[in-house]
């Protein structure tokens, strides 16, 4: 059970595109910007590499949120991987709705290599939203 004395710190898995968002994270670091420490970063070659199975696997293994971040539309290193990500996440959101996972727990963002500030903003927002929702893991426990 969650202790009241310890505030809930969400665990958020971030799938970051190698060509843009991952560089933005580096830039945020070297620019000494402050952002919340709640993100577990997994570098992928493209947001289009993120199989929806990864997202469900993350939730199942205790993630309170998942952020998929890639290049802006039109800027994909592989021409259209980010469009595939957009389509998959639009679809998988409908599925998560039905399973009872709130919309705010899965987010897709376009963050270019120069947009460290955008990442910080998105990160803060997402952590605040998920803190308000509370932890997901206890809801996955079904005793049979």
């Amino acid at each position: 059970m969650h202790e009241l004395s310890e505030p809930f710190e969400p665990k958020i898995v971030l799938f970051a595109c190698n060509w843009c968002t991952y560089a933005a994270l580096d830039l945020a670091g070297t620019s000494r910007m402050k952002y919340p420490p709640n993100f577990l970063v997994i570098k992928v070659m493209c947001s289009g590499r993120v199989d929806p199975q990864f997202i469900l696997e993350a939730f199942r293994n205790g993630a309170d949120g998942v952020l998929v971040a890639g290049c802006h539309p039109g800027d994909c290193h592989y021409i259209e991987g980010n469009y595939k990500a957009l389509r998959r996440i639009t679809m998988i959101r409908r599925i998560l709705d039905r399973f009872g996972i709130e919309r705010e727990r899965l987010r897709l963002e376009w963050i270019s290599a120069s947009e460290a500030a955008k990442f910080v903003k998105v990160a803060n927002e997402m952590v605040d939203q998920i803190k308000a929702l509370g932890p997901l893991a206890p809801r996955l426990q079904v005793s049979v």
Binding site: R88, F99, V144
Partner: protein, 326 residues
Amino acid sequence: MTEKPKIAMYWCASCGGCEEATVDLAERILELTNLVDIVFWPVALDFKQEDVEKLPDGSITASLINGGIRVTENRHMVELLRRKSKIVVAYGACSAWGGIPGLANLYGTDELISRAYHEVPSLNNPENVTPQQSVEVDGNRLELPELLPRLLPIDQVIDVDYYVPGCPPTADVTWNAIKTLLSGELPPKGAVIGASDKALCDQCPLNETKPDKVLIKDLKRPHQVIPDPTKCLLTQGLLCLGPATRGGCEALCVKARMPCTGCFGPLDRVTDYGAKTASFISSIIDLQDEEALEEVIDKLPDPVGTFYRYTLAASSLGGSVRNSKS
């Protein structure tokens, strides 16, 4: 004469279709009874639970179990059969991944009972009866098995050796699986037997007409179009799950102009069939504009029922994780 191998067949939470499918073996069932002794098959033969209890542990060569685990009685029976059998086979979609009854995992048991006994339009329940686990009638205590919070594929309750896919498995698939079990050359534990290792498209007569890259602009449901029977159904906008589904059924539905709904389940190495099929369908929708995309996806009234029709209980989340407080 050496003793024949012993086979048991049992049903848990299922519709009886798997039992029908076994009968579909037709004249091959005579060959089957020459090869094996059927020691337990409640649908067809008059052996009782206590007959199974009296058998020595491990004396049944193989138990073919269909249906998922929905009530405590199912759990008790599969545990008993596991103890008595050398090999346990999850036979059919319900047993392997929950099947259609697994869709109930989107609801709590209270909701299920209330829906079934008090809400459905076809109901005739004048005394407003709700099933009780234990009730006293004329001084006798009667008990019913307990409804479990979720339906479980049998491998979440007992150790399972092999899987036979399908809703139901076809007669040929069943026959192949039985031959594999009796061959003495058993595949590695956990294998799917009787079916193909390749996707359904490999067996589909329309596969030749499938372009290298399928792209669609719109989604259609079977009642909305009369499909061209000579062209890949997917290219016609029908949601055919063949590319992500295991083959083995000889494309029965597609031959009847109906798109594959995925009853043979995932291929090897897929961990979440619904997420995988949703992924493949959404990636071939040839739209880049978010609004247009939402509009097309809106045409799918039940995405979970579409993509997880047979596998919801075995999915990563296994069922609803709704916040009960909200």
